[in-house]
Amino acid sequence: MTGLLNPKVLFDASLGRLVQVAGDPYSWLRKWKATSERRVAGCLPMYVPEEIVHAAGVLPVVLASSVGTTPLADSRMPTFACSLVRSNLELALRGALDSLDGIIFPYLCDATQSLHEIWKTACPGPFVHHVVLPSRLETPAARTYLLEELRRFRAALEGWSSREISDRAVWDSIDLYNANRWLLQRLYASRRTSPGLLNGREMMAAVMAGFVMPKEDHNQLLGQLLDAMEQRRHDTAGKLRIVVSGLLAPNPGVLDLIEQAGGVIVDDDLFNGARYFAGHAPHAPGPLESLASRFLNMMPCTTKHNPESGWANHVVGMARGAQADGVIFLLMKYCDTLAFDYPALQDGLDRAGIRHLLVETDQDVSGMAQLHTRIEAFLEMIRSP
């Protein structure tokens, strides 16, 4: 074990592990489950209060992986839903999600709401729960409603797991998750100051490994990685600083293309990125109040009612803060909320004088060659005065 004290070895070992888990999450999960007594609950993106699931002794697993084609899902659902929704249905119908004992849907949009209903008949199981989160965040009524909905969720989990979920247990889980968020926030902060230490694909793996691994193990790996990184330097002279915005990058291929074209990713607001670990659950009279506060103070999100263009302003602010040379906006095909808010972002970035490129993504990677050309042209355009 002494070899691990060498920062280089430590760095490679911890990063290698994260990349390996994120690369094939459900195979990893199957192996993990063979050694564990714990139940596993899949959580559709985004905003399932995982801490309550964890406090029930259940492992929450975030289902954010995409697959290529979705023939099985297409027989149960029209194709005009985003790749995330169709991929999850496809994976379940293929049996790739057999390690899950239950599944939890957060209310997010029309497509995830429909997926929840389809799931009940297409993939019935002992625990299929819909946490009907509010789409308004700014009113006291929304907080009261949310708290009741979280209590209903806790009660449903208690029924399923046949054990009481004490406040103490939820607080412990909150501590664990806050630590996880803090570690990931540090990782992202280091990227803003010295980008390129991890490339886009590795950074995404660092986040997404935590979508399946228990947070206890994930925290340990992140801690090791951060310690080892302190010694490292990376030369990014001449690279263009790029911010990636959107809800979810269905695959890391687009990040590779940005780097191949001479860009370095400095920040993002993706769910398989900064959105997942933004903020923290604060001190509050009770643990559910704490979780409600984190939710209601979330990073502005297109899936929520956004008076005053909160989301577009946030992305512009992020790009400014990261001193970005350009923003690449990933529009998941058929994601209505992103598509509706996009013109406001376009205006905001234009006004701020920040160059931007719209990239429509699907799970399908067949258009990668064309995308490569577009991203190269975009970076070239930024370079030419």
């Binding site: 429909s114 009907v132 009524a141 929304a142 009261t144 209505d336 509706f340």
Partner: protein, 403 residues
Amino acid sequence: MTVPPPARLLVNPRGLMAAYYAEARQARENGIPVAWLTGMAPVEPLRAMGVAVVYPENHAAMCGARRASLELCEAAEMRGYSADLCSYARCSLGSIFMEESPVEGLPRPDFLLSASNFCITVTKWYEALSRHFGVPHIHIDTPFAGDAPTPAAITYVVEQLEDLIGFLERFLGRPFDHDRLRETVAQADKAGALWHDVLQTGRAIPAPFTAFDGFSHMAPMVAMRGLESTESYYARLYAEVQQRIALKDAALPGERFRLFWGGIPIWCSLKSIPDLVNRYGGCFVASEYANSWAFRLSQERPLESMASAYMTVITNLSLERRASIWQTLIEEFAVDGFVMHSNRSCRPGSLMQYELKALVEGRTGVPGVIIDADMVDPRAYSDTQVSTRVETFMRNLRASKRA
């Protein structure tokens, strides 16, 4: 066999609607504020305060019916709104950007009111409108009700309605008129009951009133709920349809197959499918869509009854509840087959349709067919493809009836 087209009803909403929109366009001159509302937003508090209300969805449907929607959708796409977005929204935004409309357009709003019971699309669409016009936007979040709304969700919506009332008081600078609200709610309730009665007349065999009659007569129910003229309109319509029942006067003489329409009509090609099935003696006798507005309210508990009614719109309900609504209608109306509009624009209405079709067919033994189209974007509608599918379906129905 050629069958004459369905006879027209004498009562029709055209004059009423024209007068209504003319009045709305005059509103500002008369010092009356104008609000834009989503199709199933809680309009009653606005009516009680005398606000003029208009409906972009209704306007978009009219643009579709007048074959003007394509150009308007494209205008929105030019401004960065994806062609995959709801065509009502694109049509509405395009009409604003181009300052064009085949039906004179809508008067500029002073504020906006949306409710998410149909979809999250309206939330984002109205945010875009709010940015464009620089006017306040009140959004009512109606949490997905599943099998039934939770008490907490009802309370949440009631509180938002109270906030809406507070907004109206501040915006209009006068106290809210709770007595007028009760009257408005009572009026809307009566209109809802009458509309339900009108739709129920389709149960007679042969049907005197069709689902497509419903689509052309629902406009006052959507846009003019809570007004006395609406109530009297449906009373007259109901009386006329009753007379036709007495005379055994069929909407489609020689009715052989009673059909059910599922989903929003294809406004940009409204008559092609009913005309096609008519040739086989098929008549659409019911729909779940027109029934969406046949809801009841209570003047004893105006806000609670509104919260509950607006949350239990079919698009805000579980697959199981939808299947049971379909089953009831199919059985009550003695339906032989159903046509489901898979509407590219409408994800909450369309994404669970494959499962819904399977459940309904399994429980009722009545077969159905799914057609791919869009409510007002003609690019998503292929007449040949749809005709072929519907004709095959009708031939199969005919064959099974003979057997």
